[in-house]
């Protein structure tokens, strides 16, 4: 479903070129629940930006559902991001001026769904994440855990191929972290949502079926027994 082959990404900072990703290979299949762990500066965010179609590799190939993203125009990339990727961010990134349900509607709006249909679908998603009662609340009226539930509903509203969560529990207390993780695991097991979590919390990573480490720009998959592959 998502495949990276020898992906490299380097940045030009003045005269110096720094390579952040040194040939990353990754194959995500439908229904995966996967974590990528790594210290800061390891290239986590760069990798996430490429997987999330916000950035393109300097070399190597990235396929999403057998489409090579290298040759896509910015508009096509936006459209693909809209349909295939659902983002969940560490600091939620809900638009403060919009209510919960309006936030959830956003991906559908940019897809051209009518207002009525979008609100209906968004309402269903909010029910699923347990936020049906607070759909007209503004983000400022919600707790951290509630905001993240709304963000998860927003990520899933467009039925994406991949839910990409960047430190989804980074801003939450342990109790709420457990709640949010339960929700993600449930979505994976019950609805088969493909989930990739980028985290540096080993407890979060441990709950995922496939676990990866990123270290100095290279990705290493660990087997369930803890051995590197």
């Amino acid at each position: 479903m998502l495949r990276l082959e020898d992906v490299r990404r380097s940045f030009q900072l003045g005269p110096v070129t720094t390579e952040v990703l040194h040939g990353v290979n990754l194959n995500v299949v439908r229904g995966d629940l996967m974590s990528i762990m790594g210290p800061s500066g390891s290239g986590k965010t760069t990798l996430m930006n490429i997987i999330g179609l916000l950035d393109r590799p300097s070399s190597g190939t990235c396929w999403i559902e057998e489409r090579d993203i290298a040759n896509l125009r910015d508009d096509e990339l936006s459209a693909l991001r809209n349909r295939k990727i659902g983002f969940v961010f560490q600091s939620f990134h809900l638009l403060s001026q919009l209510s919960a349900i309006e936030n959830v509607c956003l991906p559908l709006v940019y897809r051209g769904t009518t207002r009525g249909a979008a609100r209906k679908r968004a309402g269903t998603l909010l029910e699923q994440v347990g936020m049906g009662q607070r759909k007209n609340h503004r983000p400022s009226q919600l707790s951290g855990g509630q905001k993240q539930r709304v963000a998860i509903a927003r990520a899933l509203v467009g039925n994406p191929a991949l839910l990409l969560a960047d430190e989804p529990t980074g801003a939450l207390d342990p109790e709420t972290t457990a709640d949010v993780m339960d929700l993600l695991l449930k979505l994976n097991t019950e609805q088969g949502v493909t989930i990739l979590i980028i985290t540096h919390d080993s407890l979060v990573a441990a709950q995922c079926i496939r676990q990866m480490q990123i270290h100095q720009g290279r990705l290493i998959e660990q087997t369930a027994s803890g051995e590197d592959v």
């Binding site: 936006s78 990134h93 897809r111």
Partner: protein, 398 residues
């Protein structure tokens, strides 16, 4: 379909964003309101002035033709009989009012009561130049060679100041010759619609034949003719030229029709209106720059929001249209309020100047149109800037 629903969505978001930033929106609105209202008020002012000038012409008659003698002193020019016969000989001319202009000092009761024009005219002259008679009568053709005079307002006042209660029948000395006062004029308002300076208040009017009798060298300086309205003014003009050529082959005359003057006046007023509109537009441009400033601040403040929208699948053009719609809504609202204020200001000016209130629809539509245009023009750069923001940098908050 997609474009349409995103536009509607962006419109709703724009309105709520403008409402959220109330003070900033009001400041931006004020700039546009002042700009649009000044364009409308200025252009309407120009139109009203034009209307007013046209009214003055129409009060005198758009059928007037002024024939000015261009010959030097000492030349007799056209004769009185020929000048009067213009109307009889040419079917396109209904009436003609020649004038012999002299000047001198006026004495009454042994005292000097003025120095001014002695105008030798006929009854028709009072009609075409709208001389206001207060008492008595004007000179007529029956007064041929008679020493009768009609005195202007200022002269009459001075005569009354000597203690006389009734001026009619009194004798006045004009350049040492005694004349009987047969009429008194009211105050005369000079009209620029008549291209002949009358100066009736400081003048006395005598029969044209008397003028010629007193000084046979004084030529006719001007003939005010009345053309038939149903005949094209160019035809009337060429008829007059032909007639003048036949009676005084060596004569030199300037012939100006009222229609030519009106056209000239309208052209001048058009330039005047354009100038006023341009002055008004300056404030609209300043208002536009204010809007641009506000939009740039708004874009800078909302970098994170833009990045989130891009991550959720908004295309560059979706972001651009969101901000462009916001600035267009802002300036259009300013345009609507500005139109209202402009009309109120125009009404105020019309009350103050006593001119007819006139709504210039051209100015209203161009004011509104320009407001939308200003939103587009000055909103484009900020909107484009928003669309070009790097979502990765935005999401990281830098």
């Amino acid at each position: 379909m997609r474009v349409f629903s995103v536009l509607i969505f962006n419109g709703r978001e724009a309105v709520s964003s403008l409402r959220r930033n109330g003070l900033r929106t009001i400041l931006g609105l004020i700039g546009v309101i002042i700009g649009v209202s000044s364009v409308i008020a200025m252009v309407s002012l120009g139109e009203m002035a034009k209307q007013q000038a046209r009214k003055q012409f129409e009060a005198l008659g758009t059928d007037l033709v002024v024939i000015r003698n261009n010959q030097g002193q000492g030349q007799s020019g056209i004769g009185i009989a020929d000048a009067l016969q213009l109307a009889d000989k040419e079917a396109s001319i209904l009436n003609s009012a020649p004038r012999i202009l002299g000047n001198g000092s006026f004495r009454y009761g042994g005292k000097e009561v003025g120095y001014g024009s002695i105008q030798g005219v006929t009854r028709a002259f009072a009609g075409v130049s709208k001389l206001p008679l207060k008492e008595g009568r004007f000179v007529t053709i029956f007064d041929v060679n008679q020493n009768y005079t009609v005195v202007g307002h200022t002269i009459a006042e001075k005569m009354l100041a000597t203690g006389t209660s009734d001026l009619l029948g009194e004798l006045i000395e004009l350049n040492g010759i005694l004349f009987t006062v047969i009429g008194i004029l009211d105050h005369y308002e000079e009209s620029y619609a008549l291209p002949v300076h009358v100066g009736a208040n400081e003048s006395v009017f005598i029969p044209i034949t008397t003028s010629r009798r007193i000084d046979s060298n004084q030529p006719i300086d001007v003939i005010i003719a009345v053309a038939d309205r149903s005949i094209d003014h160019e035809t009337a003009k060429s008829d007059i030229q032909k007639y003048l050529n036949s009676v005084t082959p060596q004569g030199q005359f300037d012939i100006t029709t009222a229609k030519e003057l009106i056209a000239q006046m309208e052209q001048q007023m058009g330039i005047f209106t354009l100038l006023l509109g341009a002055v008004g537009s300056i404030s609209l441009v300043v208002g536009g720059i204010g809007v641009m400033n506000i939009m740039l601040v708004s874009v800078a403040e909302r970098r994170m929001e833009i990045a989130i929208r891009r991550a959720l699948g908004a295309r560059k053009r979706d972001i651009r249209s969101q901000f462009l719609i916001e600035s267009i809504i802002l300036t259009t609202a300013g345009g609507i309020f500005g139109t209202g204020l402009g009309l109120v200001a125009t009404w105020g000016i019309s009350r103050f100047t006593n001119w007819d209130f006139l709504i210039s629809w051209i100015s209203v539509s161009s004011g509104l149109g320009t407001a939308v245009g200003v939103g587009l023009f000055f909103g484009f750069q900020p909107a484009h800037q928003a669309s070009q923001l790097d979502p990765i940098a935005g999401l990281q908050g830098n």
